[in-house]
């Protein structure tokens, strides 16, 4: 029994491998980009707009709002990264309704890749916002001896991100596969429905956590810049 789509290999040459994960990811990428291009080709700025444009606008403004609520003042700056995280994970998870589909998020390689992206995005945005030194100083806050703990925290939360998404999606797929063998008719449908829900929740959790980490990096630097006023 294959636990990961990584194990379905189409082509292999030494280190280079083309497996199901990559193929599915490309498919999802194509789907997303083609849909975006088709819909945004006929964007209108009138009051009356098409249903698809309306859907995309709700989606984009929804993501923007979430980012803003977490504490990032300029959501348009972060939506490229956070929005893509959400859209990719959500699409990958929602497509489980298709038969013989295996979500790429069920592969530890994919979730690790996304977590690594978050791991690097946090310092990237932090440095972009407040400078390199100011960002590095966050590692020795509130005291220098906290440095190792901070580093461990950063790494462990990346691991947590990776494992959480992988575990949830993989387990969902696994449960469905197991259920198919014992109760092939009704239960897999229910479990697929639950899987859709779990997939959406995980997409939300992953992207919101990424946002929180980025916001923390950006805000930590901001907070230190603000003058400290003692309450009277």
């Amino acid at each position: 029994m294959k636990l990961s789509p990584d194990e379905t290999i189409f082509w292999e040459y030494g280190f280079f491998t083309i497996n199901l994960t990559l193929v599915t990811t490309w498919g999802i990428m194509l789907l997303l980009i083609i849909s975006a291009v088709i819909i945004t080709r006929q964007l209108r700025t009138d009051v009356q707009i098409s249903g698809w444009q309306s859907f995309l606008e709700i989606l984009v403004t929804g993501i923007n709002k979430q980012i803003e609520e977490v504490g990032l003042k300029q959501p348009a700056h972060y939506i490229g990264f956070i929005g893509t995280l959400f859209l990719f994970i959500a699409t990958a998870n929602l497509l489980i309704i298709l038969p013989w589909y295996e979500p790429p998020t069920g592969s530890l390689s994919t979730t690790a890749a996304l977590s690594i992206c978050v791991l690097f995005a946090v310092p990237f945005f932090g440095i972009q916002k407040n400078g390199f030194v100011a960002y590095l100083k966050t590692y020795v806050e509130p005291a220098a001896f906290m440095l190792p703990f901070n580093i461990i925290g950063k790494v462990s939360r990346t691991l947590a991100l990776t494992i959480r998404l992988f575990g949830n999606i993989m387990s969902g797929g696994l449960i469905i596969a197991i259920l198919l063998t014992i109760a092939p008719l009704l239960f897999p449908v229910i479990m697929t429905g639950l899987g859709l829900l779990t997939g959406m929740v995980q997409a939300y959790i992953f992207s919101i956590l990424a946002t929180v980490y980025i916001a923390a990096a950006v805000r930590e630097s901001e907070r230190r810049e603000m003058p400290i006023t003692q309450p009277k």
Partner: protein, 263 residues
């Protein structure tokens, strides 16, 4: 369940590419469209606000104009009413004046008509009476009547007042012509002599007389110089008669008039 590091690297690259592509084809156009629409709506709202303000100003102006128009209308109406009243009064006054004038004219016309009718009546009656008298006197005209007439004229001359005599004398002496005696029929020599004698005695001078026959002087005689005339005929009687005939004047004769007539 192991990590394929090539897949990890490939997925990282895939993800970065996806971020770039979605930014390019999804977020930017959508956010731009939203921003454009918001700007458009803001512009429309501002425009609407400006129009609202403008409309308010126009409405106020209109109300102000309306009020002033009402006031003007009232004023004009009041003026027109007052003018109409004045004009009516003037027309009334004119009408009254004209009516009074017309009534006066009517009265004058009626008076004139009455006078003219009176005159016509008088002339008619005079003519009738003259006709009757003329016929009667023609029938009666004998020598003895002529004598009587002459005697009557002489009596009348003798009855003249002193002032009248003096006036007659002055008129005669002031003129080179002889006194003219006109009568309806030719006077006899004896009558002419008697007349001359009585005149000589009256005026106390030698008079010269010329005699003319005028048939129109029925039953009468006339003595005239250049600017003095004494006549005796029945016209005087007729005039008296006229006064006592009420139908001619449309009024009762006075007692004085009746007395004169009867005398």
């Amino acid at each position: 369940m192991e990590i394929n590091w090539f897949t990890v690297v490939a997925q990282v690259i895939n993800f970065i590419i996806l971020v770039w592509l979605l930014k390019r084809f999804l977020y930017k156009p959508i956010l731009k469209a939203i921003e454009d629409r918001e700007n458009k709506i803001v512009a429309q709202l501002e425009d609407a606000e400006a129009k609202k303000v403008e409309a308010k100003a126009e409405r106020e102006e209109f109300q102000q104009k309306n009020t002033s128009f009402d006031e003007q209308k009232k004023e004009l109406l009041a003026n027109a009413t007052s003018d109409a009243a004045d004009h009516r009064q003037e027309l009334f006054d004119n009408a009254r004046t004209e009516a009074a004038q017309l009534s006066k004219k009517l009265a004058t016309a009626a008076e004139e008509q009455r006078h003219s009718e009176q005159k016509t009546h008088r002339q008619k009656i005079q003519q009738e009476v003259y006709g009757i008298a003329r016929k009667a006197l023609f029938d009666l005209a004998t020598v003895s009547l002529e004598e009587q007439l002459t005697q009557s004229f002489i009596k009348r001359l003798n009855a003249l007042t002193k002032a009248e005599v003096k006036q007659l004398k002055t008129a005669f002496t002031g003129s080179s012509r002889p006194l003219v005696v006109r009568s309806a029929v030719a006077l006899s020599e004896a009558q002419r002599q008697a007349l001359k004698q009585s005149l000589d005695e009256l005026l106390a001078i030698e008079t010269s007389l010329s005699f003319e026959v005028v048939p129109a002087l029925i039953g009468g005689m006339e003595l005239s110089t250049q600017d003095y005339k004494i006549a005796w005929n029945i016209s005087a009687y007729l005039r008296g008669f006229e006064k006592v005939v009420p139908a001619l004047n449309g009024q009762q004769p006075t007692n004085q008039e009746l007395k004169e007539y009867h005398v």
